[in-house]
């Protein structure tokens, strides 16, 4: 991802964090809304906790392709968090709607 992309992702994360009033600067939020993860690709530093929140009326899950993490079904406004300790590219999907894809790039 370009520097601009990283900045955009970080800014978006900061905006989401501000909206939910999260005090922890090391937590970044991804939303599931209208059957899409937003941002679909997120770049974070190692040690960051990513929190997903479901903003749809339909439940979603967050499941790593590699089996690293898998949430239970998240009802509307429910959250799931995972701390990314190691650098790498992590792809995930919603197991209920596998057309919903996301990626976390950990630097």
């Amino acid at each position: 991802m370009s520097v601009r992309g990283v900045l955009a992702a970080a800014l978006l994360g900061a905006l989401f964090a501000a909206r939910v009033g999260a005090a922890d600067a090391d937590t970044i939020q991804v939303s599931a809304k209208n059957f899409m993860f937003a941002p679909a690709t997120l770049t974070v530093k190692a040690g960051t906790t990513v929190t997903w929140v479901n903003l749809d009326d339909e439940p979603h899950t967050v499941a790593s392709d590699a089996g690293l993490f898998r949430s239970s079904a998240l009802d509307t406004k429910e959250r799931f968090s995972f701390k990314f300790d190691k650098a790498g590219t992590y792809h995930y999907l919603c197991t209920i709607h596998p057309q919903m894809l996301g990626t976390v790039v950990v630097e």
């Binding site: 059957f35 009326d57 339909e58 899950t61 079904a73 009802d75 509307t76 999907l93 197991t95 596998p98």
Partner: protein, 314 residues
């Protein structure tokens, strides 16, 4: 077996009825192909409906116990209405088949409550397959700890009843990113083996949660490796494929194989590709029961035939 009704006026009338969404349409299986016949015509033809035997099974689908959003704040009430309709049938069906999404969130309390409601159904036995909403707990164990026995926890199994061979399949456990439902190589090989040596004249009923043909791929409404399954089924004279998942009736005929998705008892979903996504569709409260429903299937022995009747909860 002869098919005396393929070109009959009632069939042409019924096909017109189908174009309006299949409500109130009765399907008579004759010569291996479903022949739709609208209910008004059926009731005016007592001899024809008189040939229909006792109810073979009822299909329930997408009960989504635990759902409480605007599209239906009381899924218990609509499912109870569905149960009342089953219990009011003149003869209790021998089987009830639930084509998945028993629960909304795979939570233990939802499964427990669903089982309590199921115990009110007056029927011989109940068969289930899981939907993706039933396998969305992190450990994928809640469905199997309650309903896994019939399949030895694999999710797929078969049984015979009244001369009909039933095959229960699971296509919600091996999602590929961005892809459709998947049966998987092991299950496909098992089907092949299960069908080996069976007479081509045996009526086959296949049921699974997600449609076993591509209804709308961008929303994942299909099963990627279903063509391999159909290759195994093609030699049979009568194959009826029943699915849930999309909360509306869509039908297709391919040779001797007929496909039918079912209504939900919980909430409707939009027509394929209409709107932002396949979420719950909100309809005015007084119209909800008219878009929810159940299906009963009747077996007639002379000639051996299956008839499907969809009815709404209105």
């Amino acid at each position: 077996m002869t098919d005396d009704s393929l070109d009959s006026p009632s069939r042409r009338r019924a096909l017109g009825c189908l174009a309006y969404g299949g409500a109130g349409t009765l399907f008579v299986l004759a010569g291996g192909v479903f022949t739709p016949l609208d209910l008004a015509a059926a009731s005016a033809d007592p001899d024809r409906t008189g040939r229909l035997g006792r109810p073979l099974f009822v299909q329930l689908s997408d009960t989504h116990i635990g759902f409480n959003k605007e599209a239906n704040p009381d899924v218990d009430a609509t499912f109870t209405r569905a149960i009342d309709l089953v219990n009011a049938m003149p003869e209790a069906p021998a089987l009830v088949i639930h084509t998945g999404d028993i629960t909304h969130l795979s939570r233990p309390a939802e499964f427990d409550h669903a089982q309590q409601l199921f115990s009110r159904i007056n029927a011989g036995e109940m068969h289930t397959v899981p939907g993706e909403h039933d396998t969305s707990d992190a450990a994928v164990s809640e469905y199997f700890s309650r309903f896994g026995k019939a399949s030895n926890n694999k999710g797929y199994y078969s049984f015979d009843h009244a001369g009909v061979h039933f095959i229960a399949l699971v296509n919600v456990l091996q999602f590929k990113p961005g892809g459709l439902g998947t049966l998987g190589a092991d299950q496909l090989a098992w089907v092949e083996d299960d069908l080996k040596g069976r007479s081509a004249s045996t009526p086959i009923v296949v049921f699974a949660h997600m449609p076993l043909w591509s209804v709308y791929e961008p929303w994942g409404w299909g099963t990627g490796d279903a063509p391999q399954l159909l290759a195994s089924l093609r030699r049979f004279g009568s194959v009826t494929v029943l699915n849930g998942h999309i909360h509306q009736i869509v039908q297709k005929v391919e040779g001797n194989v007929t496909f039918h998705t079912a209504r939900s008892t919980a909430y409707p979903q939009p027509a394929p590709g209409v709107g932002e996504g396949p979420g719950p569709l909100k309809v005015p409260a007084d119209q909800l029961a008219g878009v929810l429903g159940i299906r009963s299937v009747t077996l007639a022995k002379h000639p051996l035939s299956l008839a499907l009747a969809d009815r709404t909860l209105a």
